[in-house]
Structure formats: structure tokens, C-alpha cells
Amino acid sequence: MRWKQFFTPAKSMNSAEAKQLLQDHELTDVQILDVRQPAEYHAGHIAGAILIPLPRLSDSYDLLAKDKPLLVY
């Protein structure tokens, strides 16, 4: 348990801002993370999004680049 997480402010973007972010970056320079369940992901997701269901997230940090923008939903 990392308590720090409760005090770390996280940036937030609405849909339009997020789209702008994606348009301003090459896909290799931005990450999109889908933390929902596989069934939800399969029913529809933002193109290019990586699926890491929330229960697996804390074990999957290695799959993500820490320095690149990471859009999470």
C-alpha cells in the first residue's frame, strides 16, 4: 500500500482536450490505458488503448512508460 497515491494530484482532461492531446502526439509518444474489464474493453475502446484491468494494474507498471503522457480511463 502506497499512501502517497491518495495525496498525489492527478491531471484530468475532458474528451475534447484528450482528443487534442492524441492529435498533437504521434501514437508512439502517447499511451492510452483502459483499466476496465476485458469484456468492456472488447465492447468498445479508444483506438490504440492498452487494456490493463484495474485489479492487475499494480502488477503491470513495467508495461507502461513513465515519461510519456498516459491517458487513463
Binding site: 482532461m13 499494480s58 480511463y73
Partner: protein, 200 residues
């Protein structure tokens, strides 16, 4: 919550999409709501819409065919072959509709007007590959890409149908939209089956 968790673990550029996926207005695609539709709204004549649609179908068919030649899984080959064949039916239907409206069955002239480089979603193949960063060696990524394109196509036809003033033209676009929906479902099933295999 996930974003805060990530931010607390060194992901300094983690950004929460407020409202989550439900707030996302583009259907399984990067493009804004109006992207792609411009192809149709800029074209005031139903015949131009049909020509554009035909080129989009051909683009997607090319994509499927090229994937068939690269794929190793029999299941993927079977599904993509099927999807490529259906695009032939769509193309025939679009040309018949063009003939009905114009009274001309000069296919050469029709094809000459076609823009081959366009894919169904309204972007070129190169733009698509670059935009999606698709790893063509990965079956699930290829299917995911196909789903994104079909999703765009479905959206495109649906909205073009809504704006069509000619009743028969509207019906044609609606029928194709319905079939794109079936494509999407079929690709989803393929994805589930592939992922199921991979997950053991």
C-alpha cells in the same frame, strides 16, 4: 482512482479522462465526431457520396486482402477472406445504386472518379497505420485495427444515411451500415476467440 494510483507510482504524466469511456465521443477511434463525415457533407450529390463510399470499401478490402496474405492463423484467414468478399457485395450494391441514380452503367468512368487511396474511415492507409501504431505481426492488433475502421465506417454510413434526402439512397446507406455493424460484431467474436486462445 487509477490515475492517482499511477501518479503516486512515478507516472508523472498520467492524465485522467474525465467521464471515462462513456464521455469519449469518438466511437473506438481517435478522430473527432466530424472527421470522416466531412467526406460526405462536403459532397452534396448522392452520386459523389456513392463514389466515395465505393473507394472506401475498396480500401478496406485491400487492407483485408493484404492481411490475409500475412496472417498465419487459419481462423483469421477465414474471417478476413470472408470480410474481403463482403466488400465486393458492398461495391456492387454501391455501383448499382449509382447506375439507378445516374442511368449510366459506365463502370470505367465510375472507377476513374474513385479515390483508391481512401480507407473506410476517411484516412489513408498510411495515416491509419501511423495513427494506430498497429503491429501487423500481432493478430489481435490487426483485428483491433479492422474493428476501428469498421466502427468508423458504420458511423460514417449511419450519419450519411440520416442526411440523405433520396429515400432509396437512404435505404442503401442504411443497409450497408447494418452490414458494417455485423462485420464489427464478427470481428469482436474473432477477437474474443483469439484472445481466449492466447489466455489459455
Amino acid at each position: 482512482m487509477a490515475t492517482q494510483q499511477l501518479a503516486g507510482n512515478g507516472f508523472t504524466n498520467a492524465i485522467n479522462l474525465s467521464g471515462g469511456f462513456k464521455a469519449w465521443t469518438g466511437q473506438s477511434a481517435f478522430d473527432g465526431e466530424e472527421d470522416g463525415l466531412e467526406l460526405f457533407t462536403d459532397l452534396s450529390k448522392p452520386t459523389d457520396v456513392l463514389i466515395m463510399a465505393y473507394s472506401l470499401e475498396e480500401g478496406l478490402q485491400d487492407f483485408y486482402n493484404s492481411m490475409v496474405s500475412r496472417a498465419e492463423s487459419e481462423e483469421v484467414i477465414k474471417v478476413f477472406t470472408h470480410l474481403a468478399a463482403i466488400e465486393d457485395l458492398h461495391k456492387d450494391r454501391l455501383f448499382k445504386e449509382y447506375t439507378r441514380i445516374t442511368g449510366s452503367d459506365d463502370k470505367e468512368k465510375f472507377l476513374a472518379k474513385m479515390q483508391k487511396q481512401m480507407l473506410e474511415g476517411g484516412l489513408t492507409t498510411e495515416e491509419y497505420l501511423a495513427r494506430f501504431g498497429t503491429d501487423l505481426e500481432r493478430v489481435d492488433e490487426v483485428i483491433g485495427m479492422a474493428m476501428s475502421i469498421e466502427g468508423q465506417a458504420l458511423d460514417l454510413y449511419s450519419r450519411a444515411a440520416q442526411r440523405a434526402e433520396d429515400a432509396d439512397n437512404k435505404t442503401t446507406l442504411e443497409k450497408i451500415a447494418a452490414e458494417e455493424k455485423t462485420h464489427l460484431e464478427r470481428l469482436g467474436e474473432l477477437m474474443d476467440s483469439i484472445l481466449g486462445e492466447n489466455d489459455g
